[in-house]
């Protein structure tokens, strides 16, 4: 393996990592040492443009949002593939068409499944 006894190439990275970590830790520690310690409840509240809080930041969303979002992503990806394919469609020829057909067919099976299982119904 490498002839040099120490991997000098990586030295800058190591230095950078150490400085980066030290910067974070030192500034936090300095702040903690220097600042006055007077905690009270209002200080622990999240800051929402100065207006008082009216509900918890964590709320539950209906599951359906996720399903729709996931379906959306699937078709998003499909488009991502379709665009470059369309650009070079002429060069790819018949084989390219078949390939894309297969790709879309697989997606269609999934979409069909989701449809049949009622993923698109908002009830």
């Amino acid at each position: 393996m490498g002839n040099e006894p120490v991997p000098l190439n990586y030295l800058p990275i190591a230095i950078f990592a150490v400085i980066g970590a030290a910067f974070g830790i030192v500034s936090l520690l300095a702040g903690w040492l220097v600042r006055p310690h007077r905690p009270y409840r209002a200080k622990l509240l999240p800051y929402e443009s100065g207006s008082p809080l009216f509900m918890d930041a964590r709320v539950q969303f209906p599951m359906r949002y996720y399903i729709i979002a996931m379906l959306f992503v699937i078709f998003d990806i499909e488009i991502v593939f379709l665009f470059p394919w369309a650009v070079v469609f002429g060069k790819l020829g018949l084989l390219g068409l078949i390939e894309m057909g297969v790709f879309i067919a697989i997606l269609v099976v999934g979409f069909w499944y989701a449809w049949k299982k009622g993923a698109l119904e908002w009830e």
């Binding site: 393996m1 490498g2 002839n3 991997p7 990586y10 790819l92 084989l95 390219g96 390939e99 697989i106 099976v109 069909w112 499944y113 049949k116 299982k117």
Partner: protein
């Protein structure tokens, strides 16, 4: 790197098994959701039929000697790949058969279960052919996705959910390590294909990169210190999924490990031998000692699996053709014994709704067949002659002796003794203790089939292993000069 879209008919032929299975599993899914009130058993048999057809296709390929590479060497079909594909598909068939009764207890998504099992199998088939770090990453993730869902399949069961969550978090973490490793290796070598790396000079970046990849694969096979997801995941997952998880991904990941270390890193063999020696000793010792304390049969088999992987790693530590032969054969013996044992666990669990070892008390009174089968499987796992496990261990140890790895050999032998103890605890409960509830246990025909296949495999591989040995020897023929390659590479690879 440019991709030309060139595919000829012969190229498609190489992909025929995968293409067939893909079409089949889409069809199975379509049938499942389009025909109302279709019994899930029919879906199961449909799936088994498709997998067996794929299996026969591969056997035919093996017989004809079909080989070749595709997509700039990203995908390779050689006899090693065919061996591991057959390995994965065989375990898939057995797992589906042993699932049928279990799936009855699911309230939802019965048909999808088989779809997901087949999808994971498809992913693992691609893993067996991966010859490039990119395809390693993609296929590994592909096969794992199915498992993420399968492990958490029991939606109302907290343990299953917990198992799924743990498996997912740690799995994604391993994927991160893998991606990091791949990028490091690419940065150092400028290539992703294994065979092109064979002559690159070594560097620390390369070493670290490959270690990251090893960590990810070690996670997959459950080698210490990357093992800790195994007990809880195995415990919580539906038992057939545990069975699947305990054998198929290990085989597929082993295919990648063998390729990676025998092809890409052959020149650095003296370097990585130590890695496997350490991992093997840790896995064997840890797995066996912790197994002693187990009270749940699934956890026991989980830890025993960790120990068995330790044995397999001995073959990699040998790093020779004989080592790879031994790994392949050992995995075969492990397939039959392990899946057989799990089939018994599933059969018993379906009826008594428990996986605690205590509840195996007096199994011999309740079902002599199950008890006798379990006895043979456990003895094979423990390596008692003339069962398959013994021949497997023998080959592994002979490979280690060739390379004069005496420390490893001694540790392995000591571990055989330790393992005997906890396997016998189960046997003792089955044969000697009194059953609390003496009602007989009946097993369904599919599970019986799996057990018979397991028994046949365990006995035949033990008593007449010759054809199988010849098969694995042929499958790894390409490594027959691996030691020479090392010898040739050594003078150039300084420091190693």
């Amino acid at each position: 790197m440019t991709f030309d879209l060139v595919l000829s008919g012969s190229d498609l032929l190489l992909l025929a098994p995968e293409i067939f299975l893909t079409v089949w599993l889409c069809v199975v899914l379509a049938i499942d959701f389009s025909i109302k009130n279709l019994d899930h058993e029919n879906i199961a048999y449909l799936s088994v039929g498709g997998v067996i057809a794929t299996l026969l296709n591969l056997l035919w390929f093996d017989y004809l000697g079909v080989t070749g590479t595709l997509f700039h060497d990203m995908f390779v079909l050689d006899r090693l790949a065919i061996f591991f594909k057959i390995f994965v598909l065989l375990s898939t068939v057995l797992v589906i058969l042993s699932s049928i009764d279990y799936v009855k207890s699911f309230r939802f998504f019965r048909g999808e279960y088989y779809f997901l099992v087949m999808m994971s199998a498809l992913g693992m088939m691609f893993m067996a052919s991966a010859h490039d770090l990119l395809s390693v990453f993609v296929t590994l993730e592909f096969s794992t996705f199915g498992f993420y869902v399968l492990v958490a399949y029991l939606r109302d069961d907290v343990k299953s959910n917990e198992a799924g969550l743990k498996f997912f978090i740690l799995g994604v973490f391993a994927a991160g390590l893998l991606a990091y490793g791949v990028s490091l290796v690419y940065g150092e070598t400028g290539t992703l294909v294994f065979s092109e790396m064979a002559h690159t000079p070594g560097s620390y970046g390369l070493a670290i990169g490959f270690l990251m990849i090893f960590a990810a694969l070690g996670f997959k096979i459950g080698a210490v210190p990357f093992h800790s997801w195994i007990p809880d995941t195995y415990h919580g997952a539906p038992t057939p999924v545990t069975a699947f998880l305990s054998i198929a991904p290990k085989g597929a990941a082993m295919a990648i490990l063998i390729r990676m270390f025998y092809v890409a890193l052959a020149a650095f063999k003296p370097t990585w031998v130590l890695l496997f020696v350490v991992a093997s000793i840790l896995s064997m010792t840890y797995g066996n000692i912790v197994a002693i304390a187990q009270k749940n049969i699934k956890r026991l088999l989980a830890y025993s699996g960790i120990a068995q992987i330790g044995n397999v790693l001995i073959g990699l530590a040998a790093g020779t053709k004989r080592g790879s032969d031994a790994i392949l054969f050992y995995l075969l013996t492990y397939l039959f014994a392990n899946l057989g044992a799990f089939a018994v666990v599933i059969g018993v669990g379906n009826l008594i709704k428990s996986d605690e070892i205590e509840d195996y008390n007096g199994l011999n009174r309740r079902s002599p067949f199950l008890a006798a089968a379990m006895l043979i499987f456990l003895l094979s796992l423990a390596g008692v002659p003339p069962l398959a496990g013994f021949i497997g261990k023998l080959y592994i140890f002979v490979a280690a002796i060739d390379q004069e790895l005496y420390t490893l050999l001694a540790v392995g032998l000591i571990n055989i003794i330790i393992s005997m103890y906890y396997y016998l605890v189960v046997v003792k409960k089955m044969y000697i203790n009194e059953p609390v509830d003496p009602s007989p246990i009946r097993v369904s025909i599919p599970i019986k089939t799996v057990i018979y296949v397991g028994l046949a495999g365990t006995l035949i591989l033990g008593i007449y292993p010759r054809p199988f040995i010849e098969w694995v020897v042929a499958a790894t023929l390409m490594f027959s000069n691996v030691t020479d390659m090392v010898a040739a590479a050594l003078p150039h690879g300084s420091g190693g």
